[in-house]
Subunit: 473 residues, 2 copies
């Protein structure tokens, strides 16, 4: 594609995206296509000759758009937000345009140094423990997801607990290692335990309290039982803001237990970490000074398009020892000097793209105060919604709503809630998803899209009430 | 960022990228900054208030560009290519603009279906075994990297070999599993073996022949020895196009051994897989019908910016069984029906972005014939370079050059070659890297950047000869 053609096509696509974002609220949020419908509209064979960009872009509209669920719609309240923003989209574009590899410092120093620098900024912005700063023994790195971050943390902990023998000799001859999390922890913890060869049977999903937070006494009891059985406890994945209900595990109580029992404490704050931008929401983060590692996703609630998950470790050498490999063809003077970070040793894959650009663009575009303002706005919208639920006798909250996720249900039982959700989602007016809490279905109203305004939340609540009227309380 | 501001900033960035690509050949390829120089130019604290896009873009030039190594330069001959193209960059932009999550079919059906469809196209385009088609029991999925692909293959094989007990009970109580690869295999194999808990001691890096390809008899001998020792062989990672020297492991001989010994055969063709677009290069792929899994990277040599690694499995259920997790909050009707692919079960992370867009854009922009033309062009350039090396008595080839990578050396010994490389790389005129082959340093001339033309290769060879003159043969 020649320079002028790229320019023309690029302008057209920028226009397309600008128009898409401006008009996305009028599109049905949840795609209604049936399995196979999109494929059926695509030609069975690739073209022999090249086609024009106009033809391709026309097919985006004709073929693909019916199969898109609009995550950027202001009426998207499902799962967790995956919000984005103009500066983030443009940061991703620049990353693609530069096309550099960040596997080593030497393969593009700016890619590594901007990432280290911006992740240090975020330590200050979120008031995280200074031990996570790269200027000491810690450091931050961008992962693709919180799933990969918990896997990296688990591997670092595994190798620390086995003095490197997991990597070297393998787990077959070693004592059984046991990992801990609450019953509400993300499924990524179980997936990581399996990938790392530890076995699901060595993952204890512990009892939670009435607000779905891990009970420290349940952890302590299980630790004693496991030690008595000759097992080796080594890892706790605590969550600040569970996926199901935004529950907050009590770090200040769990941390000392981890120290006493030599558990690596990983804190997964995938969505809720962003809340720490605002001092008034930091009480949930008390006890963070005990964390060996921490992760939160700007690609959820900090206006940075997927993927961008910020992962911190207190002792970077523990992570690097677990994941480092140095073949001849990657040797270079900078690596040998020890003066640089080679981020390939901080993650599962080797290659990595320049993801710090979009994060830097976002922080500079909004400024710290701008980001705080947006977070406060979303939390306020969720709290208003929760107040509406509390005030309507047909509905009830299913969990506390500490921040921007409201779990609630119609009092008419599971079938009513399932029907309300299905009807809302099929209407296209909004999209929300469910979970089970204390054995009952609950609807999840997750507020955090960039474009969501008070009218969208008010309209959602009106539509929910409307659908609820068909069911007896 | 409002619609008009996004449009204006987007145009400016499109212009910036167009100009960057048009002028990149005149920039020094390898960044010359010292560790810490980029960070020193960044403010110690993030801005409290937002800044203009113009200010940010100005800092890209002022602060970042000195720290960029130009992977898209036509004078970049280091490592492997990581080529990109206009349509690919725009596909990435659209993916960021739509901002959808592809973790489940239901979270955006088009994201999953386009990926499945385009990966089926590639089966035909590369003449891969039809068993990899999604329409049968196989299927393809986009991974971030070939490293992640080999880890996924290894986990599927581990769970197949242990009847799911690795995931369930963990490796601590199981017989030792042994994995195999050649001494030239990518370090990702060792990293995957470690991550999966198998231990480096259970990875056999086997002897290669005089062209650095795995010797089937070395595999057979080791298999017998390991079985005799009560170990359980389970996995072979064969390589088509090793990183070091582009060596091709003999699949047609290795495949029957894998069948006989029940090894999962994974074929890593990260760079060289693209060559299979052209019928005349397919002889290297003979024996692919024995492969249980296969991976190649359009983000290396198929004009698709990182990340885009195409991973195929013969029996998708083996992969899904190893990686599937289904928590309540991800349950949905489409998943329950079994009629759809949920790609989160085909990879390590949960979340995933719409990477198929850029691959689809690239295939449609170039057409199959256009892609073939580019591959032939690169191979021809490499073969001309190799002919130059053969004709110059001061230099010699260090390995066969089957495709687009030429390993060569000055006859003056390791110190001369190191000096030649360092001087070339510091000159900024070109960038190339090294490896060790048969105990000696070899320089690697890897040809595959989108913008590389005959004059760039000719100039590189002239500069190499020039620097070589300082050293006795």
């Amino acid at each position: 594609m020649e320079e002028e053609e790229f320019r023309r096509a690029g302008y057209a696509l920028v226009d397309w995206i600008a128009a898409y974002r401006a008009g996305v609220e009028s599109r049905p949020v949840l795609s209604q296509v049936t399995p196979g419908a999109i494929r059926a509209a695509l030609p069975p064979a690739p073209p022999a000759q090249g086609e024009s960009f106009d033809a391709i872009l026309a097919d985006v509209d004709r073929v693909l758009m019916p199969g898109i669920t609009h995550w950027q719609s202001p009426n998207f309240f499902a799962y967790f937000p995956a919000n984005s923003s103009g500066p983030s989209i443009l940061g991703e574009l620049l990353s693609a345009g530069l096309g550099v590899q960040g596997m080593l410092w030497a393969t593009s120093p700016a890619c590594t140094e901007l990432e280290t620098h911006v992740l240090d900024w975020l330590v200050e912005m979120l008031d995280l423990p200074r031990a996570f700063l790269s200027t000491g023994e810690g450091g931050g790195v961008i992962q693709d997801t919180a799933s990969s971050a918990v896997l990296c943390a688990l591997l670092a902990a595994r190798e620390q607990a086995t003095a490197g023998q997991g990597n070297e000799a393998g787990l077959a001859g070693l004592p059984r290692l046991v990992a801990y999390a609450s019953s509400q922890a993300h499924s990524a913890v179980e997936k990581a335990v399996k990938i790392a060869g530890l076995g699901r049977q060595q993952l204890r999903l512990l009892e939670v309290d009435e607000v779905f937070a891990l009970r420290p006494e349940a952890l302590e009891r299980q630790l004693r039982a496991d030690r008595a059985a000759g097992l080796q406890p080594f890892f706790l994945a605590a969550t600040l803001g569970t996926t199901s209900s935004n529950a907050m595990d009590p770090l200040a109580a769990l941390g000392p237990l981890c120290q006493q029992h030599q558990l690596w404490l990983h804190v997964d704050a995938a969505m809720s970490g962003t809340a720490a931008l605002c001092p008034e929401f930091r009480s949930w983060f008390r006890g963070m000074e005990f964390a060996d590692s921490f992760d939160f996703n700007p690609h959820k609630w900090m206006f940075t398009n997927f993927d961008c998950s910020c992962f911190y470790v207190r002792r970077r050498q523990a992570l690097i020892r677990a994941l480092s490999i140095l073949p001849e063809y990657l040797r270079n003077q900078a690596t040998a000097s020890g003066a640089v970070f080679d981020y390939r040793d901080w993650q599962i894959p080797l290659g990595r793209r320049f993801r710090a650009l979009k994060l830097w663009f976002v922080i500079r575009h909004y400024g710290v105060e701008g980001l705080q303002r947006e977070v406060r706005r979303h939390v306020a919208l969720a709290q208003e919604f929760a107040a509406g639920v509390r005030a309507d006798p047909a509905f009830e909250l299913a969990a506390p709503a500490p921040l921007n996720l409201v779990c609630f249900r119609h009092r008419g039982g599971d079938a009513a809630n399932q029907a309300i959700m299905d009807r809302l989602n099929h209407s296209g007016d909004l999209y929300l998803t469910h979970t089970r809490l204390a054995g009952q279905l609950a609807l999840r109203m997750s507020i955090g899209q960039t474009l969501t305004q008070p009218r969208h939340v008010a309209n959602a609540w009106r539509r929910i009430q409307e659908e609820g009227r068909a069911f007896a309380v």
